[in-house]
Symmetry: C2
Subunit: 257 residues, 2 copies
DNA sequence: ACAAAAGTGTTACTTTTACACCCATGA
DNA sequence: TCATGGGTGTAAAAGTAACACTTTTGT
């Protein structure tokens, strides 16, 4: 199926199969080479990029729609995925913008077609293990690429706002939730974990204090093995104690009152 | 306009003027008599209660819709109001439930009427100053009443879940945001503020430590006046330093990393 | 043997907790 | 004058921050 067939199919099938005026957009974070990355789709006509997003089936749970999008782009399920904000400004979608694109596709639609109406979108953010991801663009995009969070190109519509808010939420959650499972491989070293935190927070942390604090959460299991083949003292390998990790996810880490 | 005219009007006007499949529900908290209260509407036919909610205009911002609901029920604007979660389970609304109600109203609608379709709802929670509120039920409800959070009656659909989640969010936010402006009168005493925290958290706090911590946030202004007419030592009156209060709202209070 | 990076420990400082005494007011 | 509740202080405990030395490994 080529792009135009996909779009035409969506336009007609969506009339009855999809919720109108509500969509999901996913900010998918990965971690690689000491960089926090985000997954973006190249627009088919414009020199602009977009967050992976999608529509919601008439009888589909909103979370399920977000999982579906995530799975389609990355091949992954069972990842951390959480809604973080609804973007409900009526000006956020832009009828003219979509009309131009459709004209370039050679598709003619009515001014009041459902696709052109105002859409409220639910923002989700996901944390995924970079090495496990198999990228796949959606039907209407040119390609699907990881971008360093510091080098994000120009995005369509309000996607930049959505991305910024996701990042702010992620940084916030670091304060009271454990992070790392789903972003790191099964086994990792303490410096790996620290780098992840430093990357998300964009801030250097003290190695020794970081270790103590992390171990204090009691969500880590230290293996007897060490990382091999490094030109200096080999760090221990850790994994998450999933039972405790999930407890910490539910109960929070640093509660104040 | 009586209830039936209201409902009929909604049914037809909503066809074009409202977003379908998306609504807002508001958990409106107030504080009075040392109790945390929530505003509920009595169902017109059933021995059940509901959160104040509403539909979203075709070109209305979602936040504006929530503000509108809040204003209509309480007479207030300029209050703290924040979205906290989207409830997107397709099973959350119940076609049969609404159909029964409409039959009792003597209104006949088609099975596929927009009002009967699945609705995703955005949960908002508000903090309001109890004494300033003028209660007004909506067009389709019998009455509008404050309920102690510990005595909440049975609610329709998934409104209990929404309420619980709002309360959990509020408790969470106490950890990193100042709370009190919008829930307390302009001037209040330290014991008043403490009682508010204790009520929200459902937990006793140490008087002296509470005071020190609160003052440490530097969001309070102490007046030279004291509360009059109390049968013991008169407590000082405080007000919020709005500039600092708002800074604290934006930046957070207890940041961890 | 050396450079690079990891492991570990100690001390000062800050924050939190627990607790006690004095003071002002209306009854 | 006394009971009630509010203002304030202090010492111990816990947690955080800053910092240094030793260990391991590949080159």
């Amino acid at each position: 199926m080529n792009k135009n067939e996909s779009i035409s199919g969506l336009l007609s099938a969506g009339e009855h199969n999809l919720l109108h005026s509500l969509s999901v957009d996913c900010v998918i974070f990965g971690f690689h080479d000491g960089q926090l990355k985000v997954l973006l789709l190249k627009h088919r006509h414009r020199d602009l990029w977009a967050l992976p997003g999608g529509f919601i089936g008439r009888e589909e749970e909103t979370d399920a729609a977000a999982y579906r999008v995530l799975k389609e782009r990355t091949g992954l399920d069972e990842v951390f995925l959480q809604q973080f904000h609804v973007f409900g400004d009526p000006g956020r979608s832009n009828k003219e913008f979509h009309l131009q694109d459709l004209r370039k596709d050679g598709i003619d639609v009515d001014e009041d077609h459902w696709l052109l109406q105002r859409f409220v979108t639910i923002g989700y953010y996901a944390l995924v293990e970079f090495s496990k991801v198999t990228l796949a663009p959606d039907n209407i995009s040119e390609k699907c690429v990881w971008w360093d969070i510091h080098q994000v190109p120009e995005l369509i519509l309000d996607h930049r706002t959505i991305l910024d808010r996701a990042l702010a939420t992620l940084r916030m959650q670091l304060n009271y939730q454990p992070i790392g499972y789903n972003l790191l491989p099964k086994q990792f070293t303490m410096p790996d974990l620290q780098k992840l935190y430093e990357t998300i927070l964009d801030k250097k942390l003290d190695r020794r204090n970081f270790q103590r604090k992390m171990l204090g959460f009691r969500i880590l299991l230290r293996s007897n093995e060490t990382k091999k083949g490094v030109a200096h003292k080999a760090p221990y390998l850790y994994s998450f104690d999933l039972k405790r990790y999930n407890e910490a996810l539910n109960e929070g880490l640093n509660f104040g009152w």
